[in-house]
């Protein structure tokens, strides 16, 4: 447990040293990770660390600092360091903390922490990783190798205090089980993975289910081929669809908007997607991974409709970008301890539709079902989209054969308009989630 006093003391010390306003974040984390490979224990990591981050305002000048030294000497240096930075930054008319009326914390139980993870001892954790890998290895003789399986657990606490009277803290826990098998058939060697992620150990899926799913996902890639270059409908599975939501987040966060560095800048109130698309950011849903009682500026989290049936309704903002744009903060401030104030999302998701994923695939005469995307080929400024892909080829509504070493390309503006259906299979496996999505047409580049 960290002493919240430490944060208020740092804030007070900054004020005493001449700051007009200040805010301090303390973070403490303990991590445990056990990795097994080929039925034997490979690595165990067990450790913890703490850090403090400070932001000060001297007039309209901002300075930030961080330290891993939480001794009183460490905190003294932290304050001096932030003030030193403020002395060389420029006056920024929009700099400041949220208004006192905007500060606050959700008071309902958000189910972010569960003690049950701590009741599972190391040997049981290792055993579960072994069982997960075993389920994948024994699923099929073509699974000949493995990148291993892991059990990971994290306990953390975050404290935040500012000079406008806010003090808050919350604890979080997560645990995860994952495995990545390798399959071989002839010259073809492929890997894939599967995982379960939860805030309490009781909610983790069973090792057997995770291992089997990982094996299925790996086996279906064997014998992948390239296809000729062509324009076809593309179905994104939920794991690849959620990367599109990640792209949309980058396009609606306030910094990209005020800089005009997003293809969605200036589009509020306009139709930017097909009417099948409703995108929501909600940091208040109990037990989920993007949930917290307040954001990293001490503003309560909330539910924000970003896109409502195709119409862009709201950007995601912290107090700074809100002031820049003449809007109100949406409670999306984020700050990594070692970084600058920025913007993050809560639980960002695309609302599910009516059709099952099977029905969506069945509706495609000829096209691509994408299960993996690699690379960085997304330009948020222009919306240009070009990424490496692997998946399954669809012929007459059925999976015909695996494909790889291809790219898919279009422009995000067009892709949003081209979303013909959203599946009924929305599931949270992280703080960003999407159901199966069908996009009317993209360029598949291969042979």
């Amino acid at each position: 447990m960290i002493d919240a006093e430490l944060a208020t003391q740092a804030v007070q010390s900054a004020l005493d040293s001449g700051a007009r306003d200040a805010e301090c974040t303390l973070a403490e984390g303990e991590e445990f990770s056990a990795r097994v490979r080929m039925r034997a224990l490979e690595t165990v990591t067990d450790a913890g660390s703490r850090a403090a981050g400070l932001r000060v305002l001297v007039g309209r000048n901002v300075g930030c600092s961080y330290t891993s030294d939480l001794s009183s000497e460490g905190i003294r240096k932290l304050v001096a360091s932030a003030l030193e930075i403020a002395a060389i930054s420029s006056e920024d008319p929009h700099a400041g903390l949220p208004e006192p009326s905007e500060l606050g914390s959700l008071t309902t139980d958000l189910a972010l922490y569960s003690d049950d993870i701590n009741t599972i001892d190391a040997s049981r954790r290792i055993e579960q990783a072994l069982e997960t890998e075993e389920a994948a290895l024994s699923a099929d003789p073509r699974i000949t190798n493995s990148n291993g399986a892991s059990f990971d657990a994290v306990n953390g606490e975050r404290v935040f205090a500012n000079s406008r009277g806010f003090v808050g803290s919350y604890r979080v826990s997560t645990c995860a089980l994952s495995t990545s098998p390798v399959a071989r058939e002839g010259d073809s060697m492929e890997r894939d993975y599967w995982f379960s992620y939860a805030r309490s150990h009781a909610k983790l899926e069973s090792p057997a289910a995770i291992g089997r799913r990982a094996a299925e996902r790996t086996l279906r890639r064997l014998g992948a081929r390239k296809v000729p270059t062509q324009k076809v409908p593309v179905v994104f599975d939920p794991m690849t669809a959620r990367t599109l939501l990640g792209n949309i987040f980058e396009a609606v966060e306030g910094e990209a908007i005020y800089r005009n560095a997003s293809f969605l800048a200036g589009k509020a109130g306009q139709r930017v997607a097909s009417e099948n698309v409703t995108i929501i950011d909600d940091g208040t849903i109990p037990g989920l991974f993007g949930t917290s009682p307040f954001d990293d500026e001490g503003v309560p989290t909330r539910r924000t409709v970003v896109i409502d049936r195709g119409v862009l309704r709201s950007y995601l903002l912290n107090s700074y970008t809100a002031r820049k744009l003449g809007l109100r903060t949406t409670g999306n401030a984020a700050r990594a301890i070692t970084g600058n104030a920025s913007i993050g999302h809560g639980n960002l998701f695309l609302e599910k539709g009516e059709r099952s994923p099977e029905e969506i695939v069945k509706s495609v005469r000829r096209g691509l079902y994408v299960t993996e995307l690699i690379g960085t080929g997304v330009n948020i400024v222009t919306g240009d989209y070009s990424r490496g892909a692997a998946g399954l080829w669809i012929e007459n509504g059925e999976f015909a054969y695996p494909v790889s070493e291809i790219t898919i390309a279009s422009n995000l503006r067009q892709m949003l308009m081209d979303i013909e259906s959203a599946g009924s299979d929305l599931e949270f496996r992280g703080s960003v989630a999407a159901p199966t999505l069908l996009i009317r047409e993209m360029t598949v580049s291969g042979q």
Partner: protein
């Protein structure tokens, strides 16, 4: 340098006796090997946006990682508190991995690696903030002056000074002081009423501030970023399908990093999960291709005097005239494969376990005149700059995304095209290299490589390279 004169000796009063006792504690439950990694890291990051230095961050972190290896098992623990009780506790936690008698007998330490590849007297992190903030202000002014169509400029400057001490149970003691700095500029330009386009540029290395004041100035990076954004204003959609691709010299060397570098890291090959596993001695590239990973190039971003396991870095030939020659090793993989060390055991911080990683990966110059390479290409794509890349080690499929490229028509570079991702297969792609330029260039010093959640600075480089067949992921037919 005696331990008492080192950073950790001076600042924390560490003695050889302390190190010896922590290592003994780490091996108290048995095990083959243990090491201690002490790290003190000071960083600063300054940025300008809308011509305002809106904020900046500086900070310090300190910690120790303790590792115990027993067979192919690793126990790891770390602490951000260097008190003897906390270090002993971490050592005992790491020791839980081991069973049976300790197989280590060595006492006393020999110091590794006494050369200095980055003899920077005053690290950028140790200079005044006023001097450093001037760099981003100059970049902002220069980018805006380049062309009236430039309407947004962001420039960022980040530096760090890392002090490292490694002590191992096989008697190695190494110290290193690792300065690192990078300046980056990102520019948006647009025609009146037109859509914005981005250009970006950056560079640095293990250099002093003088590098940015006299060699690669803020103006150099600013003009380059602005130039790229302006070029993009006239870009047409990129082509789609297989075609001849010519890569320009320098940063496009990210091809080597993705196509072969990662696949040759020994952990993947020890586990036989790489597309390059068991292929030493085989032809995996055209005979024109030699690929080297070299951690010893002076001042470079990817260079290290000693790696993060206390092993001196060296030049390692990965591919020689198209034939696969070697892998990149950390201590664990070299121990398990009974191979020599290559100085490639790296980690992001004291909170991370070392892994085999690249340093500076490049292809030496060939014989061709770059102009002849373009002239010999009737139709294709010329790629001058790239964003990032990624690889699937197991299938060998890799991508890298072009941010500045042009059509080649009738042996001439013609129109600029919009960004597109290129995709290929590692053990196959370099077989189609048909010409290698005589113009090797290393990148300007921006590379960050991510692997299993750990980021480390790296460098890349190539001469102009002609690849007869590669899939380009544009949208135009």
């Amino acid at each position: 340098m005696p331990l008492s004169a080192s950073f950790f000796g001076q600042k924390f009063g560490l003695t050889e006796h302390d190190l010896q006792s922590y290592l003994s504690e780490a091996l108290s439950a048995g095990g083959d090997y243990a090491d201690l990694y002490f790290e003190y890291l000071a960083t600063s990051s300054l940025s300008i946006d809308e011509s305002i230095v809106k904020s900046a961050v500086q900070g310090v972190s300190l910690g120790i990682g303790v590792r115990v290896i027993s067979g192919d098992r690793t126990g790891y623990a770390y602490s951000d508190d260097l008190s003897p009780e906390k270090i002993r506790k971490a050592a005992r936690v790491a020791a839980c991995i081991a069973k049976g008698p300790s197989k280590v007998g060595k006492t006393g330490f020999d110091e590794a690696g006494k050369r200095n590849l980055y003899p920077v007297l005053t690290a950028p992190n140790e200079t005044s903030l006023i001097e450093r903030v001037e760099l981003v202000k100059r970049a902002d002014t220069a980018a805006r002056a380049y062309d009236a169509r430039v309407f947004q400029v962001q420039a960022s400057y980040v530096d760090s000074l890392r002090q490292v001490l490694v002590a191992t149970s096989d008697g190695v003691l190494s110290f290193d002081r690792q300065p690192l700095a990078r300046l980056g500029v990102s520019v948006l330009a647009r025609e009146p009423n037109g859509d914005p386009q981005r250009g970006s540029s950056g560079g640095g290395g293990r250099v002093s501030l003088d590098f940015f004041q006299n060699e690669k100035t803020p103006e150099h990076f600013a003009r380059e970023a602005a130039r790229q954004a302006i070029v993009q204003l006239d870009a047409v959609p990129a082509p789609a399908g297989e075609m001849t691709v010519v890569l320009g010299p320098g940063w496009p060397g990210i091809l080597l990093h993705e196509a072969v570098g990662h696949g040759l890291e020994a952990d993947f090959n020890r586990k036989k999960v790489s597309a390059f596993s068991d292929r030493i001695g085989q032809q995996v590239a055209s005979p024109l291709c030699t690929v080297v990973d070299d951690g010893t190039i002076r001042d470079r971003r990817g260079s290290l005097n000693v790696d993060d396991e206390g092993v001196p870095t060296q030049q390692n030939v990965l591919i020689e005239k198209g034939v696969l020659r070697g892998y990149l090793f950390d201590k664990l993989s070299s121990r398990l494969l009974r191979a020599g060390t290559t100085g490639n055991g790296r980690r992001e911080s004291y909170q991370h376990i070392p892994m085999p990683r690249m340093t500076n990966t490049f292809m030496p110059s060939g014989d061709s005149d770059p102009a002849d390479i373009i002239r010999s290409t009737p139709r294709g794509l010329y790629c001058a700059n790239f964003g990032g890349g990624q690889v699937d080690i197991t299938s060998g499929n890799f991508v890298f995304s072009a941010s500045e490229s042009y059509l080649i028509e009738d042996g001439r570079i013609t129109r600029p095209v919009r960004g597109a991702t290129l995709i290929g297969n590692g053990p196959e792609a370099l077989k189609y290299v048909s010409m290698v330029g005589n113009d090797l260039k290393l990148d300007e010093g921006v590379g960050i490589c991510g692997k299993e959640g750990q980021n480390v600075p790296v460098g890349v480089g190539i001469p102009t390279l002609k690849i007869d067949r590669m899939t380009v992921g544009g949208t135009a037919g």
